[in-house]
């Protein structure tokens, strides 16, 4: 099955496929080789022993009412937004100030990212998608929650949610609107489906009015959401807490 065929199939199976008008869904599919885990086509691979042990603990303790799942998610969310996206932000800022680096990043992202000392966790390849005035890129993992951990940290809880995973493909403009991002009709929206072998990072547009800023100051503006493609970078970030941490 070719890549687009695969995503069509996957989306149809999940929620019915209907491409939004004016939206081209570019899909690099989940191959049929190992996804997040090695598996055959029919069923899901059994995760690692460590994974299963944590799931056993968590599910038993949640069932007993010892811990609350939402409270656990809150902690994970805290850590992912505090700690996660700094590495990716540095990559983006470097690309904004250094045209040669930007070219390397767009042609061989894995190597360019490794230049800054960030290596892939499971040997996956990175692909960087450049936003322009004509193209807006959006990243999703329709089948689970593949995500570029080494440069964006842990995926946000919504990224792993079933609604985002299915609706990002079916109605990307609608999903972006819910994130407060209105994409003009003449801008093409491209949706990219992550896999175990391919992880995507969006290179957002450098906001106007930042010409005087240093690379470090620029990195402080770059949000996690902008590197997933559900937000744009603005010269005045509206999440000062995260930004201050990034600036340190």
């Amino acid at each position: 099955m070719d890549r687009r065929g695969f995503i069509r199939h996957a989306a149809a199976g999940a929620a019915g496929f209907a491409a939004a008008s004016g939206t081209e869904a570019h899909m690099a599919g989940h191959g049929d080789r190992g996804h997040e885990h090695q598996h055959d086509n029919a069923h899901q691979a059994v995760p690692s022993d460590l994974n299963l042990r944590v799931k056993a603990l968590e599910s038993l303790l949640v069932e007993k009412g010892v811990v609350d799942r939402a409270a656990l998610d809150t902690i994970v969310d805290l850590y992912e937004t505090k700690i996660g996206p700094r590495n990716g932000a540095r990559v983006v800022a470097r690309a904004w100030v250094n045209p040669a680096y930007r070219r390397r990043l767009l042609t061989n992202a894995t190597a360019a990212i490794a230049e800054l000392g960030y290596e892939g966790g499971q040997g996956e390849d990175m692909v960087v998608l450049e936003n322009t005035p004509r193209v807006h890129n959006l990243v999703v993992c329709t089948l689970c929650s593949c995500y570029p951990w080494p440069i964006l940290g842990l995926p946000p809880v919504w990224y792993k949610s079933a609604p985002y995973r299915s609706r990002a493909v079916i109605d990307p403009r609608g999903v972006l609107r819910e994130f407060g991002l209105e994409i003009a009709d003449e801008v093409e929206v491209r949706v990219w489906d992550s896999t175990a072998e391919l992880r995507y990072l969006v290179l957002p547009e450098r906001p106007p009015g930042t010409e005087h800023m240093t690379e470090e100051e620029l990195a402080a503006l770059v949000t996690r959401d902008s590197m997933i493609g559900v937000a744009k970078v603005t010269a005045r970030p509206n999440a000062p807490f995260v930004q201050q941490r990034l600036a340190r």
């Binding site: 996957a10 199976g13 999940a14 598996h39 086509n41 029919a42 069923h43 899901q44 691979a45 059994v46 995760p47 690692s48 460590l50 994974n51 299963l52 042990r53 944590v54 799931k55 056993a56 603990l57 968590e58 599910s59 038993l60 303790l61 007993k64 010892v66 811990v67 609350d68 409270a71 656990l72 998610d73 902690i75 994970v76 850590y79 992912e80 700690i83 966790g121 329709t142 089948l143 929650s145 951990w149 940290g153 842990l154 995926p155 079933a162």
Partner: protein, 99 residues
């Protein structure tokens, strides 16, 4: 900080159980230290790469020591999860089957 999601889950569990008073953070630190020392005694490299494995082992040890669960229940539940993955079609959420 976290290389994989299970590490974050294990981390969050320890934090929450301690917050809820099932064990003190001091007890936690001692349990984790014991696991780290045992690993060192086994001659494992102490480069931090297996930190969360030890974290998880400490968590299992404390959870059973405090009577929140026991080794048999954990093993059984682990097998149930493995079974659920094996029997869930690709692309569907994996859920435990109710007995």
């Amino acid at each position: 900080m976290f290389a994989e999601p299970w590490q974050a889950q294990a981390f969050a569990l320890a934090v929450k159980l301690s917050e809820a008073g099932y064990f003190t953070w001091k007890e936690w630190a001692a349990a984790l230290a014991a696991e780290l020392k045992a690993a060192a005694d086994r001659g494992e490299p102490d480069d931090g790469s297996r930190y969360y494995e030890h974290w998880l082992a400490a968590l299992e040890r404390l959870v059973t020591a405090k009577g929140l669960s026991d080794a048999a229940a954990l093993a059984e539940r682990k097998e149930a999860w493995a079974d659920a993955y094996r029997h869930t079609p690709h692309g569907k959420p994996v859920e435990l089957r109710r007995r």
